[in-house]
Symmetry: C2
DNA sequence: TTATTCAGCGTACACTTGTACGCTAATTGA
DNA sequence: TCAATTAGCGTACAAGTGTACGCTGAATAA
C-alpha cells in the first residue's frame, strides 16, 4: 500500500495546481492569488510549496502550459467534428465556446494574463495563442492563400473568437447563444472578405 | 495669492490621479497599485487619500472615465482627418495606434481591466468600449447595413483594433508599422466580407 | 541493517497593506 | 470677529504577505 515517494510528490504537485485553478474566478486573477492561500487549499504548509515550485510565477507557467494543452485538444476535437461534415467556422466557434464555458477559469487565465504583469507569464500565454493562430494559418493557407494574408485572417479570427469567449462568460447564459451566433457571423465576414479581396486581384499595393 | 480651498482640493485630486496613471506600466496593473503608494507619490499622507476617494475602486472608475474621454476625443480627431479625404479604415487605425503609443498606460488600463477582478471597473470599461462600438455601428449603419450586421462588423473591428493596439505595445517599435498594416488589412477583410455577404443576398437564414 | 535523501512542517521575521481615530491649521461663512 | 468646516497629518493596529531556517519521519539506497 505504501505509495512511492515520487508518486506522492506528483500527487501534491497536482493538489497545488488544482488548488490554484479552483481559486481562479471572475474576481480573483492569478496575479492576486497568494502562495499561502494556494498552499493552504492544497492541504500543505506554506513553505512546502517550495518543494514543488520555485515561486508563484513558475506555478503560473505550469498552469499556462496546461491550458495550452487543453486548447490544443479542443482544436483536435473541432477538427474531427467538421471532418464529418458541417461548416468549419460554425463548428470551430461552437467548440471554442464550449471550451470557455466548461473551463471558465482556464480561459480567463489565458485571456487576462495575456496582458498581465509578469513578463514570463505574458510570453507563455502569447506562445499558446500564437500556436493557436499558426495552426489556423496553416489551415487557411492550405485553401490557397499566401502566408501573409492567411496569417492576417487567422489572427483576426482568433481575436474575434477570444473576444466572444470573454463576452460569453460575462453574459447571462440566456444570451450566450446570441454571442456565439454573432461570432460566427463575424468570422464569416473575415473569411468572405479575404476571399473577395484575394480574388478581385491585387489593386495597386505590391504584394509578391 | 491664497488659493481657494476647492482649488487646492482639485489640485491634489489631480495629483492622486496623475500619480496612479504614472504608476501604471507593463509590470504594474491598476489592481496591483496600492493606496499607500499612490498617496505617497501624490505627496500626501495615506489617510488623506480618503478625503478625495472612497477607496481605490472609486479612483479606478475615475481613471476609466478619463480614458473614455480621451478615446472619444481621439475618435473625433480621426473623423476630422478622413473627412478631409483618405481611407476611413486606414485613418482610424492609424489614429488609434497613435493613441495607444502616446498613452500606453491609459490604453493598458482599459485593455487589462476589461477582464479585471472588480465588477464595477469591468462594467465601466465595458461601457467605454460599448460606446466605441456603438459609434462605429452608427457609422456603418449609415452606409446602408441593418443594425444587426452593422453591430457585428463594428464589434469585430473593435476587437481586432484593440488586439492590434496591445500587440503594438508589446512589439518592438520597429515592428509596429507592420502590426498597424496588418490591422488595416484585417479591418478591410471585415468590411469587404460584410459587403459581399450583404450584397449576395441572405442565403437561407431568416433575417428580417 | 544502516546511512542518505527529502517532502512536509512550524516558527519566526521583516514587510506591506488598508483604515480607524484624533489632532492641527487654515479657509470659509456668519 | 468668532465659529464652523475640512484637507491633511501622524500614530496605531490587525491582518496579510513571502520566505529563511532547522527539524522530523518515512521512503530509498547501500
Amino acid at each position: 500500500m505504501a505509495v512511492s515517494r515520487t508518486e506522492q510528490k506528483e500527487k501534491t504537485r497536482r493538489a497545488i495546481i488544482d488548488s490554484a485553478i479552483s481559486q481562479l474566478s471572475v474576481e480573483k486573477s492569478f496575479a492576486s492569488l497568494s502562495l499561502r492561500e494556494v498552499a493552504r487549499q492544497a492541504g500543505i504548509a506554506a513553505t512546502s510549496f517550495y518543494r514543488h515550485f520555485k515561486d508563484m510565477e513558475e506555478l503560473g507557467l505550469t498552469l499556462v502550459d496546461e491550458c495550452g494543452l487543453a486548447l490544443r485538444q479542443i482544436m483536435r476535437k473541432a477538427r474531427k467534428r467538421f471532418e464529418k461534415g458541417g461548416s468549419v467556422i460554425r463548428t470551430s466557434v461552437k467548440t471554442f465556446m464550449e471550451f470557455t464555458e466548461t473551463n471558465p477559469n482556464i480561459f480567463r487565465l489565458l485571456f487576462h494574463e495575456r496582458s498581465g504583469t509578469t513578463h514570463a507569464l505574458r510570453t507563455a500565454v502569447d506562445r499558446e495563442i500564437q500556436f493557436f493562430i499558426v495552426e489556423l494559418t496553416d489551415y487557411v493557407q492550405a485553401v490557397g492563400y499566401d502566408h501573409e494574408s492567411a496569417f492576417a485572417q487567422a489572427e483576426a479570427m482568433v481575436a474575434v473568437v477570444f473576444n466572444a469567449g470573454a463576452e460569453s462568460l460575462a453574459a447571462k447564459p440566456s444570451q450566450r447563444r446570441q454571442v456565439e451566433k454573432r461570432a460566427i457571423q463575424q468570422l464569416r465576414y473575415i473569411a468572405a472578405g479575404a476571399k473577395s479581396l484575394h480574388l478581385s486581384g491585387k489593386k495597386s499595393r505590391g504584394k509578391k
